[in-house]
């Protein structure tokens, strides 16, 4: 090996190397910050009531839309701007590229409205009148009526319709109960915008998806993700802990246990899709198929448990995260000094009493660490779930008021898969981009929340014991 030049050698040994280490940490932090900043700005920005512009083109066309971004025109020096125009039912597209050169003038009128509708998504334009219960309201009365009525949920609104005008002067009748959100962003004060922003984020979190996952909320996916992770933890923790106890406390430490240990550690590195295939073959078709033929034969050929579902997904992920729990628990058990075990045994405790009263309480923080790692891995896993039970759109929630309340055989929605589906399977790719960021942010936050819960629990247990290590 060629020796370093004396200058470089001296520089390294005289205090450069701590800086090198610090630079690596700084770079990691920078990348993490960049990731979170991107997710937060793009994801949360989507819900901000954006200013709407009315643009008159050289050709005489009028466009009402929300400017999204600008890009250079091909083969030219000038730019073109992308507008979100909505009105897919009328114009056939939600988006329009406008060359900056073609704009004669642009204004920001206060009377522009934005409606979210189901079906057909957003409408951008103007309110002309309201027809309700035989009355026709215009001007201030119409605005007052709209503000009043649309604040209520759809089921409590009177029958009626809105008369809307698009940018190019077409008239549209929109029934009141099909409107899910109404705003006049240009007329809003900053405070009102913040309130609306919060309301729309809440809608996103608490409602079900609409329009083939390109709109609406993600509540079923949040619920499915959290429920699946909790079920997974309930399954994997006792299994992993008992396995670790066997390996560390009971088995003879010989070549075989060593091999088993290496095997367990390597299992953690198996690609997750492999577990998906295993889950599909063994759990879904094997066990699920047998359960169907024994207990649900009346309903065959339509499968009950013989198809992907919540139980099989949780089991598959439990299998996937089992090595993580075993390794973490084993390390925790190995750290407990033998004097603790001997102390208990010397007082006349049996092996089981030593385990349950001294060893396991001391290993609890390590077990929880294993759970944290398992949850973090499981919540973000998508590939195996696609094989064993996640659905693009689940017709029913896995928990409802119908006996037995928790329906383990049902398909469920998952944020990771929802993200994938929104990004690649929607018709409107442009509309999906901000949603993808919002869902990604949410997924990160859920993993963070689950982890924080476990970390606080671990901290609490440690403090309770006065264990400062």
């Amino acid at each position: 090996m060629r020796r370093l030049t004396p200058r470089l050698y001296n520089a390294l040994h005289s205090g450069l190397w701590p800086w090198l280490c610090a630079a690596c940490v700084a770079l990691s932090l920078l990348m993490l910050t960049a990731l979170l900043t991107l997710l937060i700005t793009r994801g949360l920005g989507h819900f901000w009531p954006a200013t709407l512009e009315e643009v008159t083109l050289v050709s005489g066309d009028v466009v009402i839309g929300q400017p999204v971004r600008e890009a250079p025109l091909p083969n030219a020096d000038s730019l073109e701007r992308l507008y979100f125009t909505g009105n897919r039912d009328i114009t056939g597209a939600n988006w329009r590229w406008v060359a900056i050169e073609d704009i004669r003038h642009q204004t920001v009128p206060n009377d522009l409205i934005r409606l979210e509708r189901s079906p057909w998504g957003d409408f951008l334009g103007r309110l002309t009148a309201v027809e309700s219960e035989g009355q026709r309201l215009t001007g201030q009365e119409a605005w007052a009526f709209v503000n009043n009525t649309l604040a209520k949920p759809a089921s409590q609104r009177p029958a009626g319709q809105l008369l809307l005008t698009t940018a190019d002067g077409q008239t549209l009748y929109q029934s009141l109960d099909s409107v899910t959100h109404f705003q006049t962003p240009n007329a809003m004060s900053w405070g009102q915008k913040v309130v609306t922003w919060g309301q729309r984020i809440w809608q996103f979190l608490s409602e079900g998806p609409r329009a083939a996952n390109t709109g609406g909320g993600v509540w079923p996916a949040i619920f499915g993700t959290v429920l699946m992770v909790i079920l997974m933890s309930v399954i994997v923790t006792p299994f992993g802990v008992l396995a670790a106890i066997y390996l560390n406390e009971i088995a003879h430490q010989n070549r075989l246990t060593h091999l088993v240990r290496i095997g367990v550690r390597n299992l953690a590195g198996v690609p997750s899709i492999v577990y998906g295939v295993f889950g599909l073959g063994v759990f879904v078709y094997g066990i699920g198929g047998s359960i169907d033929s024994w207990f649900f034969s009346d309903e065959l050929p339509s499968p009950t448990f013989g198809t992907g579902g919540l139980l099989w997904a949780s089991l598959t992920l439990a299998l996937l995260t089992l090595p993580v729990v075993i390794v973490a628990t084993e390390e925790g058990l190995a750290r407990i000094p033998d004097t603790q075990r001997e102390g208990a045994v010397a007082l006349g405790a049996t092996r089981l009493e030593t385990l349950t009263r001294v060893v396991l309480p001391m290993a609890t923080p390590a077990i929880l660490t294993g759970m944290i790692l398992a949850v973090a891995r499981a919540a973000g896993e998508v590939a195996p779930l696609m094989l064993v039970g996640v659905a693009k759109l689940a017709p029913q929630m896995p928990v409802d008021g119908e006996f037995p309340y928790l329906h383990l055989e049902r398909k469920f929605m998952h944020l990771g898969y929802h993200l994938f589906d929104t990004a690649f399977h929607g018709e409107d790719v442009q509309a999906a981009i901000p949603l993808v960021f919002a869902i990604a942010l949410l997924l990160v936050l859920i993993v963070l929340a689950l982890n924080l819960t476990a970390i606080f629990l671990r901290h609490y247990l440690r403090r309770q014991r006065g264990n400062e290590c």
Partner: protein
């Protein structure tokens, strides 16, 4: 104490015998090996009741091994084999009728490093009691107070019984471990270098405690500290290479050892 010396076999270590009513532990022709490697060879000695007996000897001489054998702690390790007899009050501890849990309740053990459990002070002392039988809380509290008082710790911890035991100092922890053992009222207390990890003041407290406890039970002490053995023990056994070299009243072993090997060790000369 009447102790008779039999020098029938002059080549081997002198055997000091105690009469049946004086003898608490009787070890006879005891061999022990780790995975075939002998650690104790043909050990025979009697340990008198309500006295402090010290085992001294260089590192690796087998004194801790012998102590652990009395508590049958070697049961945890499958590679350990043994032969010969250890009798507690006339009953062989390896006998099929001997319940190992009961044995360990009768023979308490205190280790080199304090090992309080990660629980409150109260729960540490209650640990052994809870394993035995359900006691009414009043009675349990009484026993815990008595045990902590016997271990000279009560005054220091009575206001914080429900705080973590790990917050105590090393010396307090060691006395807590002794209290924990006393709570189940053993006949014998084995102490494996109980003060080697402690500061001089804590060491003095432990030694005083050992002297006070001999009115209640039989104590066996392993120590590397000659002065400690001389200060607290009534009888001293010197072990070397897994064999008993010399055993006798502490005064005699320290002032007038019968063998040169013993004298060399005690005075710090290498043989």
């Amino acid at each position: 104490m009447l102790a008779s010396f039999s020098s029938a076999n002059a080549a081997s270590a002198p055997v000091m015998r105690f009469s049946a009513e004086q003898c608490c532990l009787s070890i006879a022709q005891f061999h022990l090996a780790y995975a075939g490697k002998a650690a104790l060879r043909d050990l025979t000695l009697d340990i008198p009741r309500h006295r402090v007996t010290a085992f001294i000897g260089p590192s690796g001489c087998g004194k801790s091994t012998l102590l652990r054998a009395i508590n049958r702690l070697h049961d945890l390790n499958e590679s350990v084999t043994h032969s010969g007899h250890i009798q507690l009050e006339g009953q062989d501890i390896h006998d099929a009728t001997m319940n190992v849990t009961e044995l360990r309740q009768r023979v308490g053990m205190v280790f080199q490093t304090p090992n309080p459990f990660p629980m409150s002070i109260y729960e540490n002392v209650a640990f052994g009691l809870r394993l035995q039988q359900r006691l009414p809380k009043r009675k349990r509290d009484d026993i815990i107070e008595w045990a902590l008082t016997s271990a000279a710790l009560w005054d220091e911890v009575k206001d914080r019984l429900h705080r973590s035991a790990w917050q105590l100092s090393g010396g307090q922890q060691q006395r807590l471990v002794i209290a924990r053992t006393l709570a189940i009222q053993p006949d014998v207390l084995l102490l494996d270098e109980p003060a080697s990890a402690l500061d001089p003041i804590s060491t003095l407290k432990i030694e005083e405690l050992i002297r006070n406890l001999k009115s209640q039970l039989t104590l066996v002490l392993v120590t590397h500290n000659m002065q400690q053995a001389a200060r607290v023990s009534d009888y001293t056994a010197f072990l070397q290479h897994g064999e008993l070299v010399e055993y006798g009243p502490t005064d005699q072993v320290f002032t007038n050892p019968r063998l040169q090997r013993t004298e060399n060790y005690i005075t710090g000369r290498t043989t």
